[in-house]
Symmetry: C2
Subunit: 288 residues, 2 copies
């Protein structure tokens, strides 16, 4: 190893990078959520949509500036979480194996995504929410953000996921990817959040079951009644489906962060949204 | 869902469990390190010793009281960390893919271990060090321990590992499983630490290459010169091999936590050590 003086010359002053991130690059921070229904087939347990994941990895390549990826549970996390009633919190010892299995299932899905991103040359790194989040009755109470900030400053792409997290009131609970995105966007100061789902945006009711469902182009906090009237998702999504998603994003809009919910099941829609195009789906904004 | 009053009656007061952990059960906290050379074949990349892992999972079953498992990198982490010079810290952008690959390799090994533990009915859960640790020049600077404490209070078994962690001075560095064990034992107040390796304990020199190597039964802080004279490991272990292990444990001994390094490659040795038997290998102790 060369002497300390030489080593210091050769190493980039990465602490300066961190400094600059907090000033300029952080202004461009993008957070993208990949819905579980986009990357997995929710009708079959542990079924990845391989072609879609491969395509999305290509679309995520070359995003300018720092990027955080969060994905949902799809057919990996939800069935186990439902079976063991993880969202209800600790009730009996038998649930512990359920916690173990649910988390492992999420890691398996995460690993698959990481590998797809690596193949496109994206230096992606798994980031386990349950190792750094404490929740209280299902809401994030605290999250250690130091490692995540440094990952972004270095130019790595962290890939987080909805997870079983440990809860000061309930023992454990489910942290949805949606809540996580909203929290991180606020704490890290994201410019924009893009939610990739498997429909064209937010509808007045479920477009898969109702022909009269209308696509909403913009949702603002004044639409709170409309959101409350939206149908509940009955497809075994333990985190509340589209209604819960919109609620999280309306909270975020209050802090000035705009989000757009777009159809990531269609080629290039996510890609264009990540490169700044607006109006491809439903914009959730503070309305000013 | 039942009304709040009923729910409160049905839920065990898990916060009381946490309270009791800090008083009685924590007194029994065991931390076990599974060496990379025990669970993998270091001569071949990504080679798990399947039969050994299965046997160790059985030996880990039924450990009384809370248990933390930490494993090394073996032929998963070390070759990649070496190739991309991860331990040197950030020097160039090309290392980022190395960080990505090294972490993923560690997760793959971890996943295999978790599955083996689940098969034995142990509710094991992966715990990613890089998501909650910040290091400074390769030493742990801070670690968020809230989630880990709650995992233990619930009766889950966290499984941590040597990892690429993010470093306030070097950008990233390698956190050895050995350092992690020593840190956790101190912070969580472990009673005992058991290190499973693939030799009978600590020798004066490498027993695999030197017939005159003598097994040391006890090492105390007064043996610091002896430890300094131990041969350096030259087998591509980026975390320093046996000498570094003993140094970590001597640090720990100063805080009153006794450790024993035993041969986990032999059947039932780890099992007996975890059930309280002393003197099966090399004891590292404060010497009082």
């Amino acid at each position: 190893m060369p002497p300390a003086a030489i080593r210091q010359v050769r190493w980039p002053k990465w602490s300066d990078m961190l400094q600059s991130l907090s000033q300029s690059d952080a202004m461009k921070l993008l957070i993208v959520k990949l819905g579980g229904s986009v990357i997995t087939d929710k009708r079959k347990p542990f079924a990845i949509k391989h072609t879609v994941v491969k395509r999305l990895a290509k679309e995520l390549k070359g995003v300018p500036g720092p990027l955080v990826i969060v994905h949902g549970g799809g057919s990996f996390g939800h069935p186990l979480a439902l079976k063991y009633r993880i969202a209800d919190g600790y009730r009996e010892k038998d649930q512990l194996m359920g916690v173990s299995l649910t988390h492992l299932a999420m890691e398996k899905l995460n690993k698959y995504l990481i590998e797809a991103l690596q193949k496109e040359g994206i230096p992606a790194i798994a980031f386990q929410p349950s190792a750094c989040v404490l929740s209280s009755d299902g809401r994030i109470k605290s999250m250690e953000l130091g490692p995540l900030r440094r990952i972004l400053a270095l130019g790595l792409v962290p890939v987080l996921y909805g997870d079983v997290v440990f809860d000061v009131k309930k023992g454990f609970s489910i942290l949805s990817g949606d809540q996580l995105v909203s929290y991180l966007a606020r704490k890290l100061g994201a410019t924009r959040v893009v939610f990739g789902v498997d429909v064209d945006g937010v509808y007045t009711s479920c477009p898969k079951r109702n022909d009269r469902a209308e696509l909403l182009r913009v949702i603002t906090p004044s639409d709170v009644k409309l959101v409350a009237s939206m149908e509940k998702d009955e497809t075994g999504d333990v985190t509340g489906g589209m209604q819960a998603k919109v609620r999280e994003l309306l909270e975020l809009a209050k802090f000035g962060v705009e989000a757009e919910i777009v159809n990531a099941a269609r080629a290039n829609v996510l890609k264009e949204a990540l490169r700044g195009k607006r109006g491809l789906g439903t914009i959730v904004t503070g309305g000013k």
